[in-house]
Every structure is written in C-alpha cells, then in structure tokens.
C-alpha cells in the first residue's frame, strides 16, 4: 500500500472526536470513499496496520477526516506533530442520482462520510434531509460540532432506550417520502435502515470494517452478501465500503 506524506493543516478536538485537515491535490474522493492513514512519526510499523477513515469533506485541495479517538492508533493520529501518511481515496462510494429528495442518516458517532455526501448532493441539486444521532454519552462539544458542521440537520439525542436506531428513524418518518436513504453508523443503525427501506426505497449503507490490505487482496474485511442468490462474503475495501442494502445478507 502506497502512502503519501501530506501537509497537516490542522487538528481540532471536538469532544472525543478529531477533525484532521490535510492538503490533498491528488484524486478527489467520492462521497463514501475512504483513505488508509498512518502517523508519519510512527512509520516504523507500530501499530502495524494503517487505519481506514472515511473522507469526511473535500473542497478541492483540503481533505478532512473526522474520527473518534478510541485506541492507541487513533490517539497517535490525533497527536500534534505526528505527521501523516495517506493513501489515495479507495473503495466504492455512494451512488448519487438526480431528482427527488433523499435522507441522510447517521447513527452512533459514525457520521463522517455524510458531510461530503451532503456537499455533492447540494452540487447536484438534490434536496436532502440530514438526521444525526447524538448518543447520550457523547460530549457536548461533539454535539456543538455537529450543529455547526451539518447546518440544518436534525440532531436526535438518544440514551437509555433499548433501540436508539429506531428513535432516529422515528424522526425520519415514512421512508417512502424519500427517493433513497443514505446511512452511516453503527451496525445496529445500518441494520435498522436496511429493514426500514426494504421494499420501499433504495438504501445505501456505508460500512466500517477492520482492514489490512485495503486493495482486495486479503479478504479480511469481508461482510455477508448475496451474490446470484447465494450467500457469500464481499470485501468492504473494494466492493464497498458503500453497499446497497439489499445486497447485504444480514
């Protein structure tokens, strides 16, 4: 995997999340694509694997990544002066059609790819409503960030209920009023969106999986899919990370 050294422009903390911006004039990311990243100061292969992160936003020369610091790998990425090595944008992103309004749904704290998607929908003249979960244990700084980052979005606070995904979907309402659903988030949220959209509207789901090669070689990021009527495993890195809901054999 070729990783390019890039100039980090800023690192902003928003609760446990970090918004990392770097200069990027290579291939433009499509919404839903991801990049493999590694802190340059830790290019000695510790941690061993680069991390896959969704392209959060891109304006022509600046790439934005948004991630929650969850372990040593992401903590190192968030560190000041850590430097950054990145791959080109990878994988299959969201398909954008024209015409009628669509809904963007973010579950848990995994809303990253919806920003770039929103930008592209806006450019394509597609009306869209954005629904983002704010889990009860999310820091207020994160909620504040979402309010400014996703202007006009419906923020749905969850916490305590047995099915937070349904709480978000209650705000979305009847899926049939949208031409398509686009979702990013927890497995529970993606599963709930798949069920809600089934037989009603197309749903495009951005999956988060552990990855190693990120180029289709290792089959490590497999998810169950239907292929010619049979259940098999698709690779999130090349056949995804965005899958059509009906393809996923969940």
């Amino acid at each position: 995997m070729k990783l390019h050294p890039v100039e980090v422009l800023s690192r902003e903390e928003h609760g446990r999340h970090v918004l990392l911006r770097y200069r990027w004039t290579g291939a433009a990311p499509e919404p839903g694509q991801f990049v493999m990243v590694r802190p340059e100061r830790h290019a000695d292969l510790d941690p061993f694997l680069p991390r896959p992160l969704f392209a959060h936003d891109y304006d022509g020369d600046t790439m934005n990544l948004l991630f929650e610091v969850r372990g040593r790998g992401t903590a190192l990425l968030a560190g000041e002066d850590a430097g950054l090595l990145v791959s080109t944008p990878l994988g299959r992103g969201f398909e954008i059609g024209g015409g009628a309004a669509v809904a963007l749904i973010g579950g848990g704290v995994w809303v990253s790819p919806l920003k770039l998607l929103s930008r592209h929908l806006q450019d394509a003249g597609v009306d869209h409503d954005v629904y983002l979960e704010v889990p009860g244990d999310a820091p207020e700084a994160y909620a504040d960030f979402l309010r400014t980052r996703y202007e006009g979005a419906t923020l749905v606070e969850t916490g305590g209920e047995s099915d937070p995904s349904q709480t978000v979907l209650d705000h979305v309402g009847d899926p049939a009023r949208y031409a398509a659903l686009y979702a990013s988030g927890t497995a529970a949220m993606l599963g709930a969106v798949k069920r809600a959209a089934d037989g009603v509207v197309p749903a495009h789901l951005a999956l988060r999986e552990r990855m190693a090669c990120a180029n289709g070689s290792c089959y490590g990021c497999a998810v169950p899919v239907w292929e010619a009527g049979e259940k098999t495993y698709g690779r999130t890195c090349v056949e995804g990370p965005v899958f059509e809901a009906e393809v996923l054999a969940w």
Binding site: D46, L49, P50, C213, N215, P224, Y233
Partner: protein, 303 residues
C-alpha cells in the same frame, strides 16, 4: 562470501533461480496477499506471481470477524475464501499477463483433491509451478492441517508429485510446527522446494465481552525470528531449495532470509504496510553496497 564484479547490471544481481525457473527478483507474493485488483506495477517487483490459494470447489470462507491487529503483526482467519478451481482458471490470465512465472497455490480436503488439482494444473501452460498449501491454520481437516506430521505430508506430496507428472516444480508450504521433519518428508516424497513458514496459530481474546474474538494465524514482523529459525534449520536438513516467508517488511529482512538459507522470499502482510517495490529497492541497495548477487546469499554465512 562470494562477491560480484563491479558494474554487474542490477537486474542480474537480483536474479535467482528456483527449481530451474529463472526469477528476475527473489520476491514472490505470499499466497492470499496479492489480489487481481492490486496487480498494477507488481510485474516489475516480483520474480513470480502467486495468486490466492484455490480449492477444488468454491469456498465462502469464515464468517467475520476475520482480522485483528497484534503487536508487530496481524491475525487473520479468512478460511481460504476462493471461487473454486474452474473460476480460478478463468481468471488466471490477469496474473499471467504480468509476464512472470506463475505459481498456483492449491489446497484440498483430501489427498485425492490435492492430487486432482495438480493433475489439472499440470496441463495448464500458464502455470509454471504448484505450491501445496498444507498449512492454512484456518481450515480444518478432521481436526488438523495436512502439516499434521511427516507421514501425512509425505502422502499428500507423493500423490501430488505423481499427478503433476514431473512436468512442473512442486513447492510445499509448511507451518512452523514440526517444520524440519515435515520438510524432510516433503523432500523424500518428491517436493522440489519447501516454503517456510505459513502463519502461526494465534488467538485473540475480548476481555470486555469475555469471549474469543478471533482464532487465526499470526503474520507480520512478530513471526520473523521464528520464520528465520525455521528457514535456517530446514535449509540444513534438506537439499531442495527453501522459500522463506514470515514477517518480511524491508530489504534487510529479505537479505536475512536469504542469508539464513532461502533461495527466494515471499512477502505477505508486509506488503500491506510497506510497498513491495520499496522493499525490493532496499534489497537491491543492500546488494549494491556489498557488491553482492542475490543468488549467492543463501548459506553465504558461516554456521
């Protein structure tokens, strides 16, 4: 130590020969680590192509999770997901187009399946050699792998050697457990080379959920010293070539494996985290700095 004259062309310095097959470099992708989507530019790096292990029939592989990171490495449990031999042969032109010798890695559930696959591949003009995957830790054959012991190894190698009909070199990929005895058995049964080693059985425990998260094979730099030891011991116990494999992430690693006795070196998980082309460049620089040729490295150190 053998040195090479000044001004030997770089390509000649990198070239090795494995079982009579000229390789322009000693690097070979380890089975299951170079897919058809990632082939661009690799024809300039490797000495041979080696696609993912194929089985007689399609295999869906293991359910996720299939990956975990480990200190200096990773653990995988793919379970030999592959489209089966027929589809494999349909797709083989993509690998053959690289213009390099093409090695096919095969696995089966029975001795007969190994032998039958060798029979098919013996008649395929695109395939230069066959590597028996006797050691995948993520599939079960009645509770063990075909690396269970010398008699099992000897049986499957002999049957495969017979159907491969002497027309093509037969490599045998072994796990670390009992590697010397298994390598000797493979040689006695007609193997032309042994690949040492496959991933090492490993376990990941999720203490939060109090469950086994992953049962798979460890690869990466964490296993390199173990693999080096295996290559060193095996190369002294057999007279056939040894292909080194296990944790190669740099040109220095390649040199270490060759000095330990390997004729060629496979790059696996290391190719996920560093560019194989850079690994080759580093190795070439090592040769140039020492006025060395790759083919002279195996066993070029004192014992």
């Amino acid at each position: 130590m053998v040195t090479r004259p000044e001004n030997v062309p770089q390509l000649e310095a990198l070239a090795v020969e494995l079982c009579g097959i000229p390789l322009r470099t000693p690097l070979i992708p380890a089975a299951g680590t170079l897919g058809k989507e990632a082939l661009e530019g690799t024809g300039e790096i490797y000495g041979a192509m080696l696609p993912k292990t194929v089985t007689p029939r399609p295999r869906a592989g293991n359910p996720p999770p299939r990956l975990a990171e480990a200190p200096s490495g990773m653990i995988n449990s793919i379970g030999l997901q592959n489209p089966g031999l027929n589809r494999f042969l349909e797709d083989l032109d993509v690998f053959h187009a690289a213009g390099l010798p093409l090695f096919a890695s095969v696995a089966g559930d029975t001795v007969g399946e190994f032998a039958e696959m060798c029979r098919v591949l013996a008649g395929d003009g695109r395939v230069s050699a066959v590597e028996l995957n006797l050691s995948c830790p993520n599939v079960e054959h009645g509770g063990g792998t075909f690396c269970a012991g010398p008699s099992t190894v000897g049986e499957v190698v002999a049957a495969s050697r017979e159907t491969l009909a002497g027309s093509k070199p037969l490599l045998v990929k072994l796990t670390n457990d009992g590697v010397v005895g298994n390598a000797v058995a493979a040689e006695e049964a007609g193997a032309d080379a042994v690949t040492v080693i496959n991933t090492i059985p490993a376990l990941v425990v999720d203490v939060g959920e109090r469950r086994i998260f992953l049962r798979g094979g460890l690869s990466g730099p964490a296993i390199k010293p173990v693999a080096l030891r295996a290559v060193y011991e095996v190369s002294r116990a057999v007279s056939i070539p040894v292909v080194g494999c296990g944790g190669v992430t740099s040109g220095t690693d390649v040199a270490e494996f060759m000095l330990a006795g390997a004729t060629a070196v496979q790059v696996g998980a290391g190719g996920f985290v560093r560019e194989p082309g850079v690994i080759l460049d580093e190795f070439e620089e090592y040769l140039r700095d020492g006025s060395l040729r790759a083919r002279d490295l195996p066993l070029a150190i004192g014992t």
